[in-house]
Symmetry: C2
Subunit: 169 residues, 2 copies
C-alpha cells in the first residue's frame, strides 16, 4: 500500500497545488493521501472525483505528520530536490513493504530529512512537488499505474480528436 | 527545440500552478515557455531561477495562442486527459522537428483540439497539467532530461541525508 503525506499545506495559498498532489497520488496508483492541515474543501474535491471516476482512494486532512511518520510500519521516503538519485533510490526500496511518500511545500522542517529512510530527488533542479510525485510513482510502479482500472461512473477513452466519454450513470 | 504554450492562465488563481508548469518545462528540458496572460511576476520568478540555477530557458507572457499555433513551424501537441495514448503518440512525433506542447488550465477552447496535430493524454484520469507535462517530457526525451547540465551559480548534488549545495557565486 502506498500512502502520500503532504506537509506544509496552507489553506488558500496551496489549495490548487495540494489538490493536484492529491489527484496525482490517486491517478498514479497511491492508495491514500494524508494532509497536515484540516481542509474540508480538498477532501470534498477528492471524494467527488472518486465518485465520478472511480477507485478506492482515501483522503484525510488534519493529521499530525510526526505521529504518522513515527507510527508508520514500512518504508518512509521523502521527495526533495536535495535528495539522492531517483533510479538508484527506487532500486533500494523493498517493494513488499508499505510505503509512505512525504511531499513538502516550500519549507520542510529538518526532522523530515532525518526521519525519512530515503530522501529522493527527481532531478536536482527546482520544479514541482506535483511533478516529483508523478515521476516517482511512474518509476516506482514501472509504468504500471497506466493499467489501473478505476471502474468509475465516467470513463474517458483515448482519442486523438474529440472527447470519448463512456458514462455508466 | 521544445516550446511549451500555457493557455487559460488567470493571474492570482493560477499563479502557483503556472509557475510549476514553467519550472517543470525548464527542468525537464524544454527551451521556452509562452503564457497567454501577461504576468510579470511569473517572468521574474523564472528569470531569477535561471540566474541562480542556470540554463538558457526563455519565458514570455502576454502572447496570442491562436497566432502562436498558426505560425508555429513544427509539430503541435496538446496534452489533455481526453487525448490519445502517451507511448504510441510519442512514437508518431517526428523528433527532428520543433515541438510546441500546449498545456491548458481548466477550460480549453475547442479550436485547440482541432488545431493540434496530436492530442495526447498522460493517462485518462483527472490529475494535473504539471504532472502531465513532466511525464510527457520524461518519455519524449527518453529520460535524457536528467543528464542536462545547467551550469548555474548554484548546483545541488544528490544526497540521501543533508543538503549538498555547490555555490559558484
Amino acid at each position: 500500500m502506498i500512502t502520500v503525506l503532504r506537509i506544509g499545506h496552507r489553506i488558500g495559498r496551496d489549495k490548487r497545488i495540494t489538490t493536484h498532489v492529491a489527484l496525482v497520488a490517486r491517478a498514479f496508483g497511491a492508495n491514500k493521501i494524508l494532509i497536515d492541515t484540516l481542509d474540508k474543501k480538498i477532501e470534498e474535491t477528492l471524494v467527488s472525483t472518486c465518485e465520478r471516476f472511480g477507485g478506492d482512494f482515501k483522503i484525510k486532512t488534519g493529521v499530525k505528520p510526526k505521529k504518522i511518520i513515527k507510527e508508520f510500519n514500512g518504508t518512509v521516503a521523502h521527495l526533495t530536490m536535495y535528495g539522492d538519485e531517483l533510479k538508484s533510490s527506487i532500486q533500494k526500496i523493498d517493494k513488499k513493504k508499505d510505503l509512505l511518500i512525504i511531499v513538502g511545500a516550500e519549507k520542510v522542517p529538518p526532522y523530515i530529512y532525518e526521519d525519512a529512510e530515503y530522501n529522493i530527488s527527481v532531478g536536482n533542479q527546482p520544479h514541482s512537488e506535483v511533478a516529483a510525485l508523478a515521476l516517482f510513482l511512474d518509476k516506482f510502479s514501472d509504468g504500471k499505474w497506466l493499467n489501473k482500472e478505476f471502474y468509475g461512473k465516467i470513463k474517458i477513452l483515448p482519442s486523438n480528436k474529440g472527447k470519448k466519454v463512456v458514462s455508466n450513470e
